[in-house]
């Protein structure tokens, strides 16, 4: 693995110098039992188990030295797996399926969120959404090209609604159109942004509610743990150790008794969120990570993955089937 990484970086350096671009910062060279774990987003309540596993020594007890790297809009864990910058990562199901459609050698080790936190917030005093048809005539925010667009289109298709029955509005990270009620139904990550927005509106005397697509049959899979086929093949024990440690970390982090320690671990990275807010974020996260106590943390919901693939095929986001279930490789759980 080492010579290949070196070759790639050298060649990439030459390439990028020629085309006058900057080169991404090179990561550490992989050594035995030293692995990098690329998250999907910045560290917050959605990554509680990841940072908790690290801070509480779950990885080191498995003999692993793990570097947890925060994600972001320009980060793509699947690409980093293939380039050797990371050995494990977090990706959403649509990312995995798109990557498979393009031949990426990625496999899924665990599904972190059993319920997709991507939901829609709305003012409960203005109207209520108890069925998909209630969206008719509303201005619904979606991020064009994002998961929420795919999910919303799937919801509308499920209900047999045409796109002309709702007003789709493009959204971004600025909530002004929602605050000004220009967009009535706004996509949020229920366990993080959802809490902020609820607080803001409640401070103004407004009540909010959330529209959860999974309640209407659209179970679009969210964050999952991925690695490369090569890693699975060449370092199966490391893969097992990592998954075991990670899921044990998540399991422990989700126990209410450990909430303070989890908040401390997350708070080291997420300094902008108060502890009170983080408590509430964790409470919601817990329901999404393990909604059913009988279903272990990390459980891969095969049916949901199949549905996600079907939705993407129907919306022509991928040219054809990728048989994603063949790439679901659940590991031994704690």
């Amino acid at each position: 693995m080492k010579p290949r990484i070196t070759f790639f970086r050298l060649t990439a350096l030459v390439l990028l110098l020629i085309v006058g671009s900057g080169l991404m910062a090179a990561g550490e060279v992989l050594a035995r039992e030293r692995v990098a774990y690329r998250l999907k987003w910045l560290i917050n309540a959605s990554t509680a188990g990841d940072v908790f596993a690290l801070s509480q020594g779950f990885f080191s007890r498995e003999g692993l030295e793990v570097t947890v790297k925060a994600g972001g809009p320009e980060r793509d864990a699947i690409r980093e797996l293939e380039l050797g910058y990371a050995q494990f990562g977090v990706a959403s199901a649509d990312q995995v399926i798109r990557a498979l459609a393009k031949g990426a050698p990625v496999v899924v080790l665990a599904q972190l969120f059993q319920v997709n936190p991507l939901q829609w917030i709305y003012r409960a005093d203005d109207f209520s959404l108890t069925r998909i048809q209630d969206l008719a005539g509303r201005t619904v925010g979606i991020t064009y090209g994002g998961n929420d667009e795919t999910i919303m289109r799937a919801l509308l298709a499920t209900a047999g609604m045409g796109e002309n029955q709702v007003r789709l509005a493009s959204v971004r990270y600025d909530y002004t159109p929602f605050f000004q009620n220009q967009v009535q139904v706004w996509p949020v990550y229920r366990n993080t942004q959802g809490i902020f927005l609820s607080d803001k509106l409640m401070a103004g005397g407004e009540r909010v509610a959330f529209f959860d697509p999974s309640e209407y049959g659209v179970r679009f899979v969210a964050n999952s743990v991925v690695t490369s086929q090569k890693m699975m093949r060449q370092h199966p024990q490391t893969v097992q150790q990592f998954t075991r440690a990670l899921l044990a970390g998540w399991q422990t982090a989700m126990e209410p008794a450990n909430e303070t320690a989890v908040i401390l671990a997350v708070g080291e990275h997420d300094r902008d969120t108060s502890q009170a807010v983080m408590h509430r974020q964790l409470a919601v996260t817990r329901q999404m990570i393990q909604p059913d106590p009988d279903v272990p943390v990390g459980h891969i919901d095969t049916a949901a993955w199949q549905q996600t693939e079907q939705i993407m095929i129907r919306q022509k986001l991928i040219p054809g089937p990728v048989n994603v279930i063949d790439r679901l490789k659940p590991q031994q759980t704690p």
């Binding site: 290949r4 070759f7 790639f8 060649t11 990439a12 030459v14 390439l15 020629i18 085309v19 006058g20 809009p73 320009e74 793509d76 699947i78 690409r79 293939e82 380039l83 990312q95 798109r98 990557a99 393009k102 031949g103 990426a104 050698p105 991020t143 064009y144 090209g145 994002g146 493009s170 971004r172 990270y173 600025d174 002004t176 986001l317």
Partner: protein, 249 residues
């Protein structure tokens, strides 16, 4: 001049994309990391008309933004060319505003102006205005002593003549700056679309990034590059024509 610009762009683009394909081949990377030539070609065929429309949309905003910037930079640059408090104030303001990241300012603009044409125009103008202004101030505040001396000592040097002399003597520099600012205006508009708009090629790139589709990005880059090369070439031709006309007038 025009064909040279296009040729130079094609060399850079093909070199870049060729090396990407080389890397893909050498490291056996999947199409997800680096798309293959056939994939890029098919994407190009499928997306070219739409992306061309998007680029034209972006380009129109960029040109208007650039034109506004040039007019403002000339006006303020001429007014601020003297070593006065106003002149130094403009320079300090320009350096400061340049230092602000657009991504931080964009949401404020979005609140003030919405996510349409005005936000894109404002950001495009903002990104290309200040470098233009600094260049214009630099050119306009530098006396052309060998020419101006006669007019000054004979009491003929009014501000219009001073500006005319300095503009004429620095026409090549001004043309280069204006041509270079086209890139900034285009880049500014794309950034604006990326973060605070619902139209243009920047917006399409954002969607392509959401979809992890590098093929679309490469196609978009090609159309942006070729459009910009053409535009810059035309600006240079216009500059050369202007100089020729002026010099023979």
């Amino acid at each position: 001049m025009l064909h040279r610009r296009i040729f130079q762009f094609l060399i850079v683009y093909l070199l870049g994309i060729g090396l990407l394909f080389g890397l893909k081949l050498a490291l056996n990377l999947s199409d997800y990391v680096i798309p293959g030539p056939i994939g890029v070609w098919h994407t190009g065929q499928a997306e070219f008309p739409r992306y061309m429309g998007d680029v034209m949309d972006t380009f129109a905003v960029a040109v208007i933004g650039q034109a506004l910037s040039i007019m403002m930079a000339l006006a303020v640059g001429v007014a601020g060319r003297r070593a006065t408090w106003f002149g130094s104030f403009i320079k300090v303001a320009a350096y400061n505003v340049q230092a602000y990241p657009i991504v931080a300012i964009a949401p404020i603009l979005f609140i003030l102006l919405g996510d349409g044409f005005l936000t894109r125009l404002f950001i495009a103008a903002m990104i290309c205005y200040f470098p233009l202004l600094l260049s214009v101030i630099g050119i306009m505040s530098e006396p052309v002593a060998d020419i101006e001396h006669f007019y000054r000592v004979t009491g003929r040097l009014r501000w219009q003549l001073e500006v005319k002399i300095r503009a004429f003597e620095n026409l090549h520099k001004l043309t280069t700056v204006v041509s270079g600012s086209a890139t900034l205006a285009m880049a500014g508009t794309i950034v604006a679309e990326f973060i605070a708009a619902n139209a243009g090629i920047g917006y399409s790139i954002r969607i392509a990034l959401y979809q992890s589709d590098l093929s679309k990005i490469l196609v978009a880059l090609f159309i942006i590059g070729i459009t910009l090369s053409l535009y810059q070439g035309i600006l240079e031709l216009l500059g050369a024509g202007l100089k020729k006309t002026w010099a023979s007038g």
